[in-house]
Structure formats: C-alpha cells, structure tokens
Amino acid sequence: MAVNQSDIEKLAELAKLEISTEAAGATADSISQVLELVDQLQAADTTGVAPMAHPLDAVQRLRADQVTEADQREALQAMAPATEDGLYLVPRVIE
C-alpha cells in the first residue's frame, strides 16, 4: 500500500500540522516505505490469532473510586499563558 501527497496533506490537516508541498511529497515516499513493511507483516498467516490490543500481556488494574487529587489550580495555572476567573484562555473558538 502506498500513500500519495494528498493523503499526507489531509492527515496533516487532521493532526493540525503544517507541512510544505515539498515536504509532503517526501513524507509520502517515506511513509509508503513503512507501509510496505506493514504489507509484509500482513502477509503472515494469523488464522486463530486474536487481535492484539496491547503489546503487554497483562490486565488493567482498577483503582477504588476515591477522590485523591487536591485542588492545585494555582500551581497548574501558573504554567498557562493566559487565565481569567479560574479559566484557561485559548484563541477564540466558536462553532
């Protein structure tokens, strides 16, 4: 399977990445190479093998439902570029 330049441009838009036209072409080539590797993997016979959801052969441990986090708003907001009335401010978004 190969990807072309417009695939890369669409993915870049979805991932909110800026990519130049030249870079998009080069990226399409290198990603296509990676996908060739995937094609090889897909050729393997996986009959009877359950799909892997996680590389670790382990089970998620669950925690008890308790509030363990104290309010650290002041410390956390000290790192934010802009805040007001306890809110984090971001460039205006209106849907």
Binding site: V59, D65, Y88, L89, V93, I94
Partner: protein
C-alpha cells in the same frame, strides 16, 4: 406520498462516581472553574490514566438491566480530534470491544402498546470540559472540571418510528439509570444528554434514507420537538427535489429549528486506535454475578409487583413506578396506611398536583410518606372525611405539622356523635318544611336524589365535619317519621 421516520438515539449518561474515570479528581457538580481538574485531566506530560473500578461496576449494572451481553474483555481506544476542551487531543473511549454489547428493552406507548427497542451497544468514555465563549480578552475560556467525568454512551438500533417512541425510549433509559442509582439523570444539568439520528424514507422501502445527527437536545420536550421539526425539514427538502446531506445539526429551542453545525470542516475522521496507556480490562464471571445479585428491583418488575401485591391497575402501576422516588414513596404510604388504593390515589392526584403546581421535586416535598399514611389512616378510621382530608393535606403542604395535630388544632374531627347529628338533622328539617313536604309527596324512586339537599344543609351546618354515613342514616329515619 407516505413517509416513514427512522430514529436512533445516542444517549450520554454521566455516572455518579465520586472521582473521574482516569484520575482521582472530584466529579462534584458546581465547583469553582478548574478546581477539580488535576494534572491527568489537563494531559500534562508524564501522567498516566488509572481506570476507576466503580465506572465499570455502574456500566455492568446498566448492561444487566438492559438484558445485554457484558463485555468481559473491554478495550479503550483513542478518538482523535482537536478542540480546546479536550486537552489530550483525543477522547479515551471504546469502539471495537465495548463494556456492554447488544441488548433489548421494552417501551410503553401512550396507546398502551409495548414495543421492543434493540440496544446496539453501550461503551465507557470520558466527558470533555466546557468552553465558554463570552468575551475573555477576545479569547474563549476553558473549564476542565467536567473533563474526565465518566460517561456511558448508550447507542440504540434505528428502531424508533416516531418522536413519541423516541421520548418513550429516552424516558425508559432515564428510569433505569435512576433506579440503578448510577446517575442522577438530570438533563438540565447535562447529566443525561441525547443526540438523535433521524432519517425519512417512503413507507415500505427497505433502505434507510440519509440521516442527520441532531445534537444539543437537553429535555424530553425538546427531543420530541427537535425530531418533528427535522423530519418536516427532510420531507420538504426531498419533496422539493432536493437531497438530504449527512451532517450534524444543532437544535435551536428558541427558534424551534435545526441548523447545520459543521459545514466547512473536513469530514470527521477520528483515526481510532487502541490506547497504549490502558491495558485491556478483564471482568470475570464472579464479578458480574456479584453485581447481578445486588441489582435493585427495576421499573418493569416493580410495576408487575404493584399490580399483583396491591391490586393496582396496570396504568396506575406504570405511572407510580416511572420514577423510583415516587414508587418508594407510594410503597411506604401503602404499607404504613394499609390502604394501597387510597395511597395510589393520593400520590397520583393530590400529591402530584401539589408538586406540579409548586414546581417541587418529591425529595423536597414537605409532606412525608409517614404523614400522608397517617392522613389516610384518619380517613379510614372515620376521624375525618375525604373532603376534610384535602384541607388537612393543604395544611400539611404549608408545613403545619402532622395530620393529627392539624386535625386537633383546627378542630376538624368528624362528628360521629349521634346526639349532635340528630340535633342538626332536626333543625334542618324544621327550617325546610316545604322541601320536607315535597320529599314526602314524591315518588319512591325520586326520593334518594332529593336527599342530597338535606345532606348538603346538614354538612354545611357541621362545617363538613359530620360523619356522612351517620347523617344519611339519621336523616332517613327522621324523614320517614315525619
């Protein structure tokens, strides 16, 4: 042309856990902005999620109540999209292996019919934060307190054929989640939210039409209105030669219309993949059996029991069991008073009217189940008549105390003393000789009707406190003696 409406609902329900699904921050409603958003909720680098056991327990309870398959192995996936109230850049959710699989639930329609609606699946996921678009220095404000609150998203099959059916299904889900106590189900606070997938097709056609997803429906009333207005829009569009475009539409309750939400955006492409930060969750049979053994009685079972144990009609039992609080209240009144039918009447008529008029919830009602039971007991033992009981009830709603002290304080005790009643009867007969003569001269068959006049006068003289049965007996005797 005859059109058929096809509706599927996606219902998001906030689970009533103390802490978030992947962090130990509080989920309490109404806290100061961002005071309950910890480093994990903010997606600070280096943090890792740890899943909350209670969220799984609640989801399993729901699945069991829906007669659904329980996913003994469930996997979290990342749904990738960018929005400022989603700090990670993806929502942790489930897709391929959700916690609750296919199920089925019956809904009751207004014409008394029952219809089965299939559940496609229900999955666990995290809620997003809130964006506030008022002007903050020309920017948007973000409150992440809600980010990470556990949700179950309940996805139905497209089995509903009218707005009425959709509302009945939504109410059924509301009833089940509140009976289970897994959510407060408050639509006005966003604890329960509903998106509707709506399409139309010509009656008899096999293929579904192109659907639109309507978002932002935050009350039972709006579900009905939003669906009806969208159906109308789609039919008008097609009949005018147009085509329905698959899109997300927002319901505007003020204008009662739906409008397109995302026109310019690239088609949704969420690039789901299994979340590497979370391992698969495995629930064993013992865990599920333990939850099953502790399930509370559900609305349908309670309704059937009310019919068989208390002799209520199916309709009354359905009304009384729609909400758990009402059912519990009724049952307490019925048991304490020993008069289930009177109890049902008082709860469905007088109490319901009072709550409706005063816009109160049962939980805030000043009339306790114990006091209503006492009131009913006083009607039954002849202390007061049903009519006087309404006065006492009103005093109870004003917080004047328990029925016995109100009856005492206001002197409302029914007069069953035959001597006192005889005296009143004598007076009424003496003062209304003309009516007495009429009565004596009237045909036997007409007499019972004419009695009403005398009874009315006597009840008036006793301020409604004379025992009606005693009045009737004495009056008849005295009139016949005339």
């Amino acid at each position: 042309m005859e059109w058929e409406t096809v509706i599927g609902l996606e219902i998001h329900v906030q689970l009533s856990t103390q802490s978030k699904i992947f962090s130990g921050a509080s989920t309490a409603f109404g806290a100061a902005p961002n005071s309950q958003a910890c480093a994990i909720d903010l997606a600070m680098p280096g943090t890792l999620p740890v899943a909350n056991e209670q969220a799984f327990r609640f989801a399993v309870m729901f699945g069991l109540a829906m007669n659904a398959e329980i996913g003994k192995r469930s996997v979290f996936e990342r749904k990738n999209y960018f929005y400022p109230d989603l700090p990670k850049g993806y929502q942790t959710t489930q897709l391929e292996e959700p916690i609750v699989g296919p199920g089925v639930i019956d809904i009751e329609l207004e014409n008394g019919e029952t219809k089965s609606i299939r559940l496609h699946h229900a999955h666990l996921e995290e809620d997003a934060g809130k964006s506030l678009h008022e002007d903050y220095q020309g920017m948007s404000g973000i409150d992440l307190n809600r980010a990470g609150t556990p949700l179950i998203e309940i996805v139905s099959e497209p089995d509903m054929r009218s707005a009425e059916e959709a509302v009945a299904y939504l109410k059924k889900i509301h009833s089940i989640i509140t009976y289970l106590g897994i959510s407060d189900g408050e639509m006005s606070q966003g604890s329960m939210r509903c998106d509707a997938n709506v399409s139309v097709r010509l009656k008899g056609e096999e293929e579904y039409g192109t659907r639109c997803e309507i978002k932002n429906i935050n009350s039972f009333k709006f579900v009905e209105k939003a669906i009806n207005v969208e159906v109308e829009r789609q039919i008008d569009l097609i009949e005018d030669g147009g085509k329905v475009v698959q899109e997300t539409r927002l319901y505007d309750a003020d204008k009662n219309e739906t409008r397109s939400m995302r026109s310019k955006e690239v088609a949704n492409d969420y690039r789901y993949f299994p979340c590497p930060d979370l391992l698969p969750v495995i629930l064993d049979d013992d865990y599920i059996a333990e939850i099953k053994s502790k399930l509370p009685e559900l609305p349908d079972a309670k309704r059937d029991r009310f019919v068989s144990d208390y002799g209520l009609s199916s309709y009354d039992a359905t009304v009384l069991t729609a909400e758990r609080a009402t059912a519990d209240y009724f049952e307490s009144v019925a048991k304490t008073s020993g008069e289930p039918k009177l109890a049902a009447n008082w709860v469905m008529v007088d109490l319901a009217a009072y709550l409706n008029k005063s816009e109160q919830k049962l939980a805030d009602c000043p009339v306790s189940a114990k006091h209503l039971a006492q009131l009913i007991a006083r009607i039954k033992d002849g202390t007061i008549s049903g009519k006087i009981a309404k006065q006492v009830f009103e005093a109870m709603t004003n917080g004047e105390g328990d029925p016995d002290s109100i009856i005492e304080k206001r002197g409302l005790k029914q007069v069953s003393d035959t001597g006192a009643i005889e005296k009143m009867v004598d007076e009424v007969i003496a003062n209304n000789q003309a009516q007495v003569d009429n009565y004596k001269n009237a045909d036997e068959k007409k007499r019972p009707k004419m009695l009403g006049f005398f009874v009315g006068q006597i009840m008036k003289a006793s301020k409604g406190q004379a025992n009606p049965q005693a009045v009737n007996e004495i009056l008849l005797k005295k009139l016949n003696e005339q």
